[in-house]
Amino acid sequence: MNRKTFINNSGRLILLGGLTYLTGSIIFKRKVSASGKYVWQIDPFKCTQCGRCESQCVKNVSAVKCVHAYQLCGYCDLCGGYFKPNSHELTTGGENQLCPTGALKRKYVEEPFFEYTIDEELCNGCGKCVKGCSSFGNGSLQLQIRHDLCRNCNECSISRMCPSEAIIRVPIEAAYQIKGDFVKPAIQNLKK
């Protein structure tokens, strides 16, 4: 039936036109990233170490790990991120450690400096050491999303629950933000 084909053809033309208009307005009036990929990043200066990075990641073992910005570390004997606040002996005994999985490792360098490294296989991204380090130390420990583990979801589940909106979408060239200075204002001071 001619009427039917006419409706069919014109409908198709209109829809094609609509799609073209939509594509055109996105390409010319909006930002399209042709080559780059966008990934999720935690801004370490906005992070409040709420613990949700550990629980909200869609992966069972979170893609968020603690990362050490060694340049800022003071190499302290009494590391605020390693030891529990009331540790009497500064040894590597498990009862003294803040880290629930024992991922933060302490190694003697020279008197009185110690090097602290993170074993990423053990780290669960809870941020307890980061909280200790930023309260009592230099704030050289920080949480970062590891992109070899991250699934790069269309919408990051952790970002939905982040209380300080610290998780943002960034181009892949700037995927990691490792702290270089500790003077930027940080939200640390929760009324507790």
């Binding site: 829809l15 709420c50 800022l72 360098v109 490792i178 939200i187």
Partner: protein, 420 residues
Amino acid sequence: MKWLKILLFVFPLLLTLQSSQAQQRFPKPEFHTSYTQPTPTTPEPRGVGMEFVDVLVLLVVLSLTSWFAIKSRSRNGILALTLFSVAYFGFYRYGCICSVGSIQNVALALADPRYVISLYALLFFLLPLIFSLFFGRVFCGAACPLGAIQDLLIYKPITIPAWLRKALGFIPYLYLGIVVLYAATGSEFVACRYDPFVGIFRLNGPHLMIYLGIAFLLAGLFIARPYCRFFCPYGAILNVFSRFSRRHLSVSPSKCIQCKLCTTACPFEAIDFPDEQNEKPDTRKSTRKFILYLFMIPVLMLAGGWIGSKSHVFLSKANNEVYLAELLISHPEVKADLANKDVQTFLASGKPMETLVAEAQVIREKFYIGSWILGAYLGLVIGLMALNQVIFRRKEEYLANRGNCYSCGRCLDYCPVEKE
């Protein structure tokens, strides 16, 4: 070429490290032993550019499905492609990014000039739609991993009465509207959050997500393609587009001989049967009915829009900022609740209440406009669905319903007619 990519990736990173040295970094201890300070590692994600391989694969699968469905009429070919899609787009690519989710990216890109949309997300949105304009819902047939996994798990599909099918068929349009509204206001990606199958494809995920997936798969044993038929927002768009497709899978390769062998062929009940009586009812009465229903459409749109605008406050609560602002205004005692991290973080951030309230107002305004549009659009959908009921179409053959048929090809082997 790979070295260039690595350099392009590392160089800006080095620049940021370099410039940060000029900032206030307190010098680290001078070590007298031969200690060398390690540098933090920055592991790279899956290679950039692999996404375009996915687009290419999508293109190939869509093309092959079209060919199998229309030209070579091979159910086996489509079945093979279905298995491939489950494996590749599903378990290998973890079902993300998918065309269903791409609606949100496109909606947000149109609404928010600051949002950067990836080209491949745009292509994932466009390609299946373009194919549907020429070949029907071939994307649903074999390319979409969500559809593919449901398709493979059909066990004892029950028949659903037509009135119920049509009523439930409204849900995808509603879901589409909500998905677009929430994505465009920058509140949430609803389709991603309640995607039942991505947890199955990843083989891990939050408990609720997995339970939802299992529920859908179990339902899929008895209702063929439950998500596709009654929820998929992208399917709603494909349904409309596919009705204007140039070519489409047809049950019979040439004229239908009405042998009725295909009546039980389609588990999705997407084959339209010719009417029992082929009498055209009273023309004047049916024309009057048509015109009445036609004029009902603007009324429905206005009514829908009005209802939508009335519900904009409720809908806007899904947005975190709006909810927080409302919480702080209506329950100021929550400020003293030290266990509430979100409230405490907001209070400690130094952002004044006025700014939060102003931002929430802006978002609520967007929801007002969006809900009006949503309501009017739903009114239009209901009106058109009703109109569709009263249009008489002389059906003489057993034809695949262009809007609902997924081009899965099951019916092809039931038809005894030989190709000319």
